[in-house]
Every structure is written in structure tokens, then in C-alpha cells.
């Protein structure tokens, strides 16, 4: 959390530039793949704020994704708003919802918090399913767009924004507060940190980026329905990408998304179930062998079987 801030910035800018120019030289298939990758990476970065930095592992962030998707979707179709307004509205509503639901829910700890967030996501799906305005079970269809390019840049933009926020958090007073809360909430409070406020703010930020991602997703994918949007596997993906890459770091979620999404894509040319199966195995393996994530492995420059075995011994019965 210290040291020169210049170098990563330069590298980051170079990468962004390369990505920005990419569509010119890539096949449409790869462009779609990248859009999906950006989306997952943005979700992982958004989860990282509440799960990685603050230590409140939410299992329901897909709720915010879905709220963003549906708000944007409804505004686009029923209210006929331009996308330029519908998208921010989706993000803001998701953020507001996260802030509101965060206030009671963040008072819970451990398992209770995790399952409560899961419950929130499930409830949102049920509610959306039951409402007329969201199209209920039949879903919503967006106006067709001609090119995928705008979505490419939008997702990339949201990813950059989410990453920058993570980067800011990692070296700011706010970030120190979140980390202190994660490490020991009682001590943090005794030292002057308004934990309730900070937690809720982190949750809201998390919701904002998940919501924005959802909004773009809705327009990009053109058709949304409750079952397709509020999928638990989405939350699992963002969690495992963050964990695999290194939760609580800035670059970890990006790494995790890059590696996992790529492998998943390679596998899913077979079956949809295969991709999910792969995700499941990865989750198990990561928890067993690399709970601290890639970033830690790279940082410590150790990747031996002995180190892997050490993890096992630490956590077993």
C-alpha cells in the first residue's frame, strides 16, 4: 500500500490504450469475448470493494447487477429514455438500493451476513419475476443495436472506473478505514472509524459498479429475464475471480478475471454446463490451495508444492 504510484499508472495507461485500439484488429467473436471479460472483471473489482477491502463477503451482489440491468431495461423500453440517461439511472438506483439494504444487513456478521445477502439476491429475483413492469417471467427485450463497439468501450470504461476506485481506496484514508474494519472492527471503532458509515459506503460503491455493469449488459444482450439475470453463478464468478487473483488488492480481480474467464471460454465451446462445472472445480481448488490468491503468490514469488501443502495443514481439522 505504499511506494511510487507512477509506474502502475503508466502500465495501466498503456494497457488501456492497447485495448482501446484492439477492436480494429480483432474478430467480432473476440470482441464479444472481451466485452464479457470486461464485465466479469468490473464485477470482480466491484465485489472487491466490499469483500476484499472491507472484509464483508457478500454473496448477493448479483442483486445490484440485476437492479442495474432491469432499471436500465425498463427505462429504455417502457419509458423510452435514451440509453445515456437510462444507464446512469440504473447504476444510481443499484447504488441507492445497496446503501439502503446495507444499513440493516451490514450489522450482521459472518455466515448470517453472507446468507442474508444471498437472500436479498433471491428475493430480488422473485420480486422482479412478480412485477408487471419488468415483464415478469417473460422478460424484457431491448431495441436492437447495430454494432457491439459502443458496448466494448462502455464496459471497458466501467472497468477502468471500478479499477481506479479500487486503486484510490488502496491508498486513501477511506481505504485505511475499510481495511481496519476488515482486520478488527472493534479496534477500528475504538480508533475513531465510523464503521457503519464506511461499510455502507463501501457496499453502495460496490452496488454502483455492479449496477452500471448490469445496465450495459441488458442493452448488449438485448433480452433479459429474471432467471437469466439474477443468477447465483454470477456472484460466485465475481467472488472466485477476486479471490483467485487476490482479494483486497487492486490488480488481483483483474488477473483473476483474465485467467478464469479465458479458460472458461475455452471450455464452454463444449457445453454450458461444462463452463459452470469448471467454475465449481476452480472454486474448490482455489480455496484449498490458494486462498490468498495469485497476487500473493506473485508477490512472495513462491509457488512450490510445499507452500500449497502448508495451506492445507493450516486449515484442516
Amino acid at each position: 500500500m505504499k511506494g511510487s504510484r507512477g509506474k502502475p499508472l503508466v502500465i495501466g495507461a498503456a494497457v488501456v490504450l492497447a485495448l482501446a485500439l484492439a477492436p480494429a484488429g480483432l474478430s467480432p467473436f473476440l470482441v464479444q469475448f472481451l466485452i464479457n471479460l470486461f464485465m466479469l472483471a468490473a464485477l470482480a473489482e466491484s465485489w472487491n470493494i466490499i469483500g476484499g477491502f472491507t472484509g464483508y463477503a457478500s454473496f448477493g451482489n448479483v442483486a445490484f447487477f440485476g437492479i442495474g440491468a432491469y432499471t436500465t431495461g425498463v427505462l429504455l423500453t417502457a419509458a423510452e429514455w435514451p440509453f445515456a440517461l437510462a444507464l446512469p439511472a440504473g447504476g444510481l438506483l443499484a447504488m441507492a438500493f445497496a446503501g439502503l439494504i446495507g444499513m440493516p444487513i451490514l450489522r450482521l456478521k459472518g455466515h448470517y451476513f453472507a446468507i442474508a445477502t444471498l437472500g436479498v439476491a433471491e428475493t430480488m429475483r422473485e420480486i422482479v419475476y412478480n412485477l408487471k413492469i419488468t415483464g415478469g417471467g417473460t422478460g424484457l427485450t431491448m431495441p436492437i443495436t447495430r454494432s457491439a463497439l459502443p458496448f466494448f468501450y462502455l464496459m471497458l470504461g466501467i472497468l477502468i472506473a471500478a479499477t481506479l476506485v479500487n486503486w484510490w481506496i488502496s491508498a486513501s484514508r477511506f481505504g485505511y478505514g475499510l481495511i481496519a474494519i476488515r482486520e478488527d472492527e472493534d479496534a477500528a471503532a475504538a480508533m475513531g472509524i465510523n464503521a457503519a458509515l464506511y461499510k455502507t459506503a463501501a457496499f453502495a460503491l460496490s452496488g454502483l459498479f455492479a449496477g452500471l455493469t448490469g445496465g450495459v449488459f441488458a442493452y448488449w444482450i438485448t433480452f433479459i429475464d429474471p432467471e437469466g439475470v439474477f443468477r447465483v453463478i454470477v456472484t460466485i464468478q465475481m467472488i472466485i475471480m477476486a479471490v483467485f487473483g487476490g482479494m483486497g488488492t487492486v490488480v488481483g480481480p483483474l488477473l483473476g478475471a483474465l485467467v478464469l474467464a479465458t479458460v472458461s471460454e475455452v471450455l464452454s465451446t463444449q457445453l454450458v454446463s461444462l463452463a459452470e462445472l469448471f467454475n465449481g472445480f476452480i472454486v474448490i481448488l482455489v480455496v484449498l490451495f490458494m486462498p490468498k490468491g495469485l497476487a500473493e503468490v506473485i508477490r512472495k514469488r513462491e509457488f512450490s508444492l510445499r507452500k500449497l501443502a502448508r495451506n492445507l495443514r493450516e486449515y484442516r481439522v
Binding site: A57, P104, V283, I284, V287
Partner: protein, 286 residues
Amino acid sequence: MLFLQVLINGLLLGGLYGLMALGMSLIWGVMNIVNIAHGALIMLGAYATFWMFTLWGWDPFVSLPATIALLFVYGYCLQRFLLNLVVRAQLFLTLLITFGVEVVMVNLVRIFWSSDLRQVTPGYAGANFSVGGVTVPYVRLWVFMTTVVLSILFLLLLEKTRLGRAIRATSEELRAARLTGIPVAHIYAVTFGLGAALAGAAGGMWGMLFPITPIMGGGLTLKSFVVAVLGGLGTMMGAIVGGLVLGLAESFTSTYIGPTYPNAISFGLLVLILIVKPTGLVGRRG
């Protein structure tokens, strides 16, 4: 009268919910593992019953002991060779790993047995009887009676047997249990096996009432969690009471508000209880 019918329906279903939750409550109480794959275990039990019925013609009540045994072995192995490895990690990681297990299980079932809806329909499936204006399907009644019997057997096992005592000792004071020579790794595995067996039994019976699909477990995990929390964590009686409460709540909402709302109600109930009285209706535990 409608009210009585709704009440009876709720109770009958609630008994099954209670049985489901017993397994989850046990594992949670003893090892502090919230098993996200719980619903998948129920699902496995349902499929086991289905295949034994379809392939060999075994009546679902008759094949129940087999289902229980199968799921016990599966659960034992799962704990002994996988979950025991991470029992002492942060809560979040154990939660995550059971998530992984759930995803693997569900997708393996999807691949090998397809997502087609299955159901177990023995000859007596549609039969029912009426008492005082209330119609009770035989299957539901027998399911309820089975859940009562299994619950009692389980509670007896926990209270009166040496194994049960070992389990309770391990849950209360791990180090002391170790010191008295209790093989913790084995006891944990047995506990999980028991939890899985209960889940499997519940699944076997669920399959007679509702369609069986690979993804049926997700909502059931949450429901079991709701019931376990409702009743009060770690108390077995609590799981049963909680199950009945949820069954009633769903029955009444479904009838008087709308058939698509029960799920939302159970999750809403959960969030409410967690905020208002996290220690549950019946007991309290750390």
C-alpha cells in the same frame, strides 16, 4: 373450511422443511459450516429415490433406508476427504468451498441425467381422504409421518447414544473432545454424513410431491437456512419448529396473497428475522 385446509397443508409441508433443516442445523452447529450444497444433497436424495423407483420399481418409502445409507456414505466422504481440509479456515472460505461443491454436483447431474423434469409417482400418488371438509393426500400424510419418525430417531441418536454424545462433545469443546480421545476428523465426517442422510431422506420424499430437477436445490438450501435460523441455530427442536412455521407461512401466503409469492416470503422472513431476532424463535447459541 379453507382455513383448516391451508393450516393442514402448511403443517404437512412444514414437517418436511423441518427435516431438511435438521441436517443443515446439525452441520452448522457442530462444525460451524454453513453447507451451501445442502440443497444439492436433497436433490441427490430425490434422484436416488427416482432411479431406484424407475429402474427397479422400489417404492419410495421402501427405498428410503437405501437413500439414507447412500447419502450418508457420500456425505461422510465429502467431509472426510475434502471439507475437513478447510474446517479451520475463515468462515468465508468454507462457505465458498461448499458453493463450489454445489456447482460441481448440480452440473454433473445436469450432464449425466439431463435437466428434464422427473417425478416419483407410485400407484397411490393421487389418492386422498377427507376429514371434516379437509382433503389430505395420502402421500403427504405418510411423508409427514415419516418425517416425524426420522426426526425422533435422529434426536434419540443425538441424545442417547455414545455417538451422539461424542458429536455433542465435539461441537461444544473441540480441544477437550480431542483430549478425551474422540477422533475428531471421523466424528466430523459422521456428522456431515448424518446431515447428508437427513437431507437425502427429505429429498426422497420431496420427489414424491414436487418435480425433480438438477437445480431444485438452490431454493431449498435457502429455505433450510431460513428454518434453521428461524428456529434458532444449533437447536434441533428449533429446526422442527422453524420448519412448521415456514410451512404455515408459505401455505397462508400462497392461498391468501398469491401462489408466486411464497419464495419471496421465505427470504423476506429470513432477512427480517436476522435483523430483528438473530437468535431465532426457540433457542440461542453463540
